[in-house]
């Protein structure tokens, strides 16, 4: 049985990220003959001697013409141990929103730096965003190690600087790994390189194949956002009424006491259905249909939670938001908020602080949040929401902010999360717990 690892890559312009991803696809035989032929032809057209592997992944014409990556691209490769879904996110500052998109579901992120340049400000910013999103594990790929003559001390300096930064963001030391690689030459990408005898760790792919995929803690509280009420009203199932959804957290068993929020109705799980037959229990990530003992008025948007550890519905919430839109957010703005399967109106009561990415500190009470800003806000919602803290339950602690006028997604929201602790940052509410393990 092969498992699935979702990972994201991030780096600055010219760090060779597309080349690395191309190399992973190529060396895992995920690039097939006709794709390689097309790349070879295009490389010759551009006057290159060897196939430019980055052309495998730059999908849009304007990207190929400009030699840059604009949008998140999803890549798929597999080994006998694992299948991988890789979100390849662009390095341009103006497209940071895509890094957030690519990393929101990632179990691990690979950050690239150029060995000649070391850890850049953008690397530190990327790591801060990844910590805030709770991506559990980081890999620093120190690329172009061939261009510094495979020098150990250069690598060690970069690795130490990055690890110190990651630890200050809340990452445990054991969940940050630095690897010296050359995406172009293939050093330490799939197999360990003879050019770096001083490096004793795994090659990148080896690490990706074996790194433990953090399962939900077994005692995580049960959460099921109700997406759809299944009522066949057929001759065979005249009175069937099931609540369909994907389990966001925890495990549910027949007989469990649950509470339906925001109404606060209590009931007992009578059954867990799937088209393949009933289940005695089901865990996080599974799409199921839950039957309850009592005939209750439950609709799409409600949340079924374990009775013993249910969130308190509230019409005011504090959250960190990543602002993804060209138009600015100001206190007093009216927006839509999508949480689980529910969309409600919301009012921005206050912009508490903005995370200053240049200085890595908090700016209090800013006038607005603009594209790529990360800020802390207080929101009031038109109906009480049963939201969790993002760090205990990401799927029920996250939300979208949507523009009521044109429906665009304006921001990603994380309930209750503060800014990453940043050394001497004077952020009043930063608590340093950005990473959920």
């Amino acid at each position: 049985m092969s498992s699935l690892l979702r990972l994201a890559t991030a780096g600055s312009v010219d760090d060779g990220k597309s080349t690395l991803v191309g190399r992973l696809l190529y060396d895992t035989k995920s690039v097939l003959a006709d794709q390689l032929d097309a790349v070879t032809r295009a490389s010759v057209d551009r006057g290159l001697d060897t196939p430019d592997l980055s052309l495998l992944v730059d999908g849009l014409r304007s990207e190929r013409e400009q030699g840059i990556t604009i949008d998140v691209a999803y890549r798929y490769f597999a080994t006998p141990q694992r299948s991988f879904v890789l979100a390849d996110t662009p390095g341009h500052v103006q497209y940071t929103r895509n890094t957030v998109t690519g990393a929101s579901t990632a179990q691990l992120a690979v950050l690239l730096v150029d060995a000649r340049n070391g850890v850049l400000e953008q690397t530190r910013r990327h790591a801060a965003v990844l910590a805030m999103l709770g991506v559990p594990r980081l890999v620093l790929a120190v690329n172009k190690i061939d261009l510094v003559d495979y020098d150990e001390s250069t690598f060690e300096v970069i690795a130490k600087e990055f690890t110190d930064h990651a630890v200050s963001l809340g990452y445990p030391m054991g969940e940050v790994l630095s690897i010296p690689i050359s995406a172009l030459q293939g050093d330490n990408v799939v197999t360990r390189s003879e050019n770096t005898p001083w490096y004793t760790g795994p090659a990148l792919l080896e690490h990706l194949e074996t790194v433990p995929v953090a399962p939900d803690p077994h005692d995580a509280p049960f959460r099921l956002p109700v997406q759809y009420v299944i009522r066949p009203r057929t001759a065979e199932y005249p009175d069937y009424r099931g609540y369909a959804g994907q389990i966001a957290s925890g495990t549910v068993r027949t007989g469990d006491e649950v509470v339906v929020l925001p109404q606060g109705l209590r009931s007992t799980v009578a059954g867990i259905d799937t088209a393949d037959g009933p289940l005695g229990e089901a865990g996080s990530g599974n799409s199921v249909t839950v039957l309850l003992d009592d005939d209750l008025d439950i609709a799409r948007g409600d949340l079924i939670a374990s009775a013993g550890s249910a969130p308190e519905p509230a019409d005011e919430l504090s959250a960190t938001v990543c602002w993804l839109a060209g138009s600015a957010l100001r206190a007093g703005s009216r927006v839509l908020l999508k949480h689980g399967a529910k969309t409600v109106q919301a009012f921005v009561e206050e912009i508490v602080a903005r995370f200053d990415e240049q200085q890595l500190r908090a700016v209090h009470a800013p006038e607005s949040l603009e594209l790529n800003h990360i800020g802390q806000v207080r929101l009031r919602t038109s109906e009480p929401l049963p939201a969790d803290d993002y760090r205990t339950s990401p799927r029920t602690g996250s939300f979208l902010i949507i523009d009521p006028k044109d429906g665009d997604t304006l921001a990603a929201g994380l309930v209750g999360v503060g800014f990453p602790a940043l050394g001497d940052a004077p952020a009043a509410s930063a608590d340093g717990q950005g990473a959920t393990g």
Binding site: D34, G59, V72, T274
Partner: protein, 314 residues
Amino acid sequence: MTAEHTVEPVAPGSGQDAAIDNLAALESEAIHIFREVAGEFDRPVILFSGGKDSTVLLHLAIKAFWPAPVPFPLLHVDTGHNFDEVIEFRDRVVEKYGLRLVVAKVQDWIDDGRLTERPDGTRNPLQTTPLLETIGEHGFDAVFGGGRRDEERARAKERIFSLRNAFGQWEPRRQRAELWNLYNGRHRPGEHVRVFPLSNWTEFDVWNYIAREKVDLPSIYFAHQREVYLRDGMWLTEGPWGGPRDGEDVHTKTVRYRTVGDGSCTGAVESTAATIEEVIAEVQASRLTERGATRADDRMSEAAMEDRKREGYF
């Protein structure tokens, strides 16, 4: 480079463990997507060609709403260049599950002059207009497609919920950020959303899933004898779209199809794979991606798919 994929097929029925396996994770994700659309849109429709991806799509929709019927119809854009086996299969599936089927016939658009036959006789590019006009006429606001991101470079960049403007066009620079499993289906009147529940599947996942779930497919996916002729390196078969030209010899070969499309530009591959297990073994060993091997229309330019998506094609 060596040819073989290094992936092991997933054993059937292995998805019950607490640690969810690859196919179970992909199935749960797709079911979640179907239910979101059913909850948020007024008039969804599943684009159904009878091909393996749209058949898997329908299988997932049936599972998502069981024991209730699928709460939306199917739409087939019929180029008129069909394989008989596929049309029979389509009608059998519709009957078996009591589905509603809307058919948009490219021939009707040609007959009344809204479309003109191309000099090369290929009708794949002609599907866009009937598709968009049928979406408009029926007021469909969400259109499910079987597209996968592993198929092609432009598709690799498309969201699962892909907003289309009033002209059905995809605008890559205006894509919405897509975070966690929170999908934003809001659209203005005249716009619609294309939805791709199989976005994160590979061709290999699709075949493994077909084997595990015992999904029924049209017979042309399995090895059979057929009279074919060679054009542009592809084995084409005679049909309503015409036959061999001068100098194109007809051979009888044992072949199968890896994709189902317009018969004038969908090529057969030589194969003796007669069962799903044999097809999986063949896919593992294949050196060509399925689109490159069998679709003439994708080979025209480096940006062929991107251009067609911008025009409103899937």
